[in-house]
Amino acid sequence: MNARPVTRSRFVRVVAGGVLVAGAGITVGLLIGAEPVDVPALLTGGGSAVERTIFFDLRLPRVLLAALIGGALAVSGAAFQALLRNPLAEPYLLGISGGGSFGAVLAIVALGSAAAPLAGRVPAALVGCLAALAVVYLVAARRGTLHPATLLLAGVVTNAFFLAALACVQYVATPEESQAILRWVMGGLSGQGGPETLLLAIVAPVGALYLFAEARRLDLLAFGEETARSLGVDVSACRKRVFVGTSILTAVCVAVSGPIGFVGLIVPHAARMVVGSGHRVLIPAAFFAGAAFLPAADGLARVVVAPGELPVGIITAVVGAPSFVALLMRARVGEGGAHG
């Protein structure tokens, strides 16, 4: 292992590399699609009107949306993992996305999916996320500590609870509503663009910067509460700020795309393997890696069953579930250690 202190020049290199990686992922997302489009011609002002519509009005906003959501989910995951001192923490696995989904689905049913797209869904998802967080905390927090196994168990319980609640809503909904709920709960970006992209273009970078501001404190929190306090971190205030930040980021993502699982788990771990565990480089690296991963995954979702389309949540789950098992097995090995 090499010591990699976070100097200014290293930070700049990580950000530059991240921008390149994100650019590559976005390019992949722009190039693939069910309808072949001559991208170079379009960019130089050519192409047919249909092609222009497909590319500029549909594909481009959706790919950018995927990048922003991917980045937002990845930084949330990275922050959650440090906050809960648990490498398996992730909004989706903890049931927080499930709570947000339930809130958003209630809004869809109550307000009609067409009538109140975002203005209703975002606050409803936020309330759902916070409710789920409260449940997870009540189940998992014993004597102020969150044991990894208990936390996962709490996530399972919370997820089950909100899934049951969702099933209830779906059961009483009309067939059309029910179909809309089902597609949405799988986590997908189908038909999203315009206003959603604008919303995320504000929320994702602001949220990522907000969490970046906590980066050094997250390094210390990952070392343990006593260490963090004795090195000058106001632990409870920091925890609250990070909880609020990650919840809002998760809620907005869930309200837009439904729950997209595992991005918050595998992207931060992949980023950690490349840049190390210092959060001042990990958070930007996770953001850009997420912004590369999700557009590429969404591109895949658009072509694997063309002319149909898979929800991108299925792609991320197919990639994510095995990675999760691998992580779980590593975590089990580490549990016997001094600082599992």
Partner: protein
């Protein structure tokens, strides 16, 4: 510290009571550690030594009483300001993820770095110097999780050293060390104290503490009487040769021991199985 001859002691614990969630661990503990002094804290397992250090570092708030650092009430200072004055080496801690030794030591610079700071040359220099002081320079690139218990302890001591501040609190810094490094750490703490810091060290090694420390305090574990929990109290405090006596050790640990003295007059405790 010399020219700013401040009348307030570096660390002052005044009638402090503390505990966790309703339990009472410490009652009415008072002690002082002056700049340049090495103070040893001894007592039975679970009597509250670590708690005393946590309270002194502002990590746990006392339920009554005050802790002052250089005359300033710790509870009135922000966490960061406390961290600039007091460094704590906890008994047990470790990172969640693999972390290189040098990065772990650099965490000690946190209280001094402005928001959004990156590690500068000065931080790196101080961290390497601290590693050199604990004889762990060669470990700088290693993953903290792969070190032996003693290597790890020296590295965490280096972090506390590069944190600076007038008060250094060490919780069992020698518990995993071989006899050479035990002596080396106590010599180092002596040097740190002689350079003007107030150093408090919790240890179970009575003999080593008696040789190295200026003063010792013994805690006597609290007890529950008539359903009321009483926290630990001070059993004895003073120069080693005055307080390391069979009576004090019986009260503190509940065992009978013999106490001799070595050539320099330091008390030496002898046990039998």
């Amino acid at each position: 510290m010399g020219d700013t001859a401040s009348p307030a002691p570096a660390l002052e614990v005044e009638r402090v009571a503390a505990g966790y969630r309703g339990t009472r661990v410490l009652s009415e503990i008072s002690l002082v550690c002056a700049a340049g002094e090495l103070l040893g804290v001894l007592g039975a397992n679970g009597c509250g030594k670590s708690t005393l250090l946590r309270v002194s570092a502002g990590v746990v708030a006392p339920t009554s009483g005050v802790v002052r650092v250089g005359g300033a009430d710790v509870s009135a200072l922000r966490a960061r300001e406390v961290a600039r004055r007091v460094a704590l080496l906890p008994q047990d801690s470790g990172p969640l993820y693999p972390m290189a030794v040098l990065e772990a030591v650099l965490l000690g610079r946190h209280p001094w770095q402005p928001a959004f700071a990156f590690e500068g040359d000065e931080d790196l220099r101080l961290a390497r110097e601290a590693l050199r002081e604990v004889d762990a320079e060669h470990l700088a690139e290693r993953d903290l999780a792969t070190l032996s218990g003693g290597e790890r302890q020296r590295v965490l001591l280096a972090r506390a050293l590069c944190q600076g501040g007038r008060v250094l609190l060490c919780d069992e810094p020698t518990s995993h060390l071989d006899i050479r490094h035990q002596a080396a750490v106590f010599r180092l703490l002596r040097t740190v104290a002689d350079a003007g810091r107030a150093v408090v060290v919790v240890t179970h090694d009575v003999n080593l503490a008696a040789q190295a420390c200026d003063r010792l305090v013994f805690l006597r574990a609290g007890a529950t009487a008539d359903g009321v929990a009483h926290g630990a109290t001070l059993e004895a405090a003073g120069r080693p040769r005055d307080v390391v006596t069979p009576d004090v050790l019986r009260a503190a640990y509940g065992i009978d021991v013999a106490v001799d003295h070595d050539h320099d007059g330091h008390p030496v405790v002898r046990r039998r199985l």
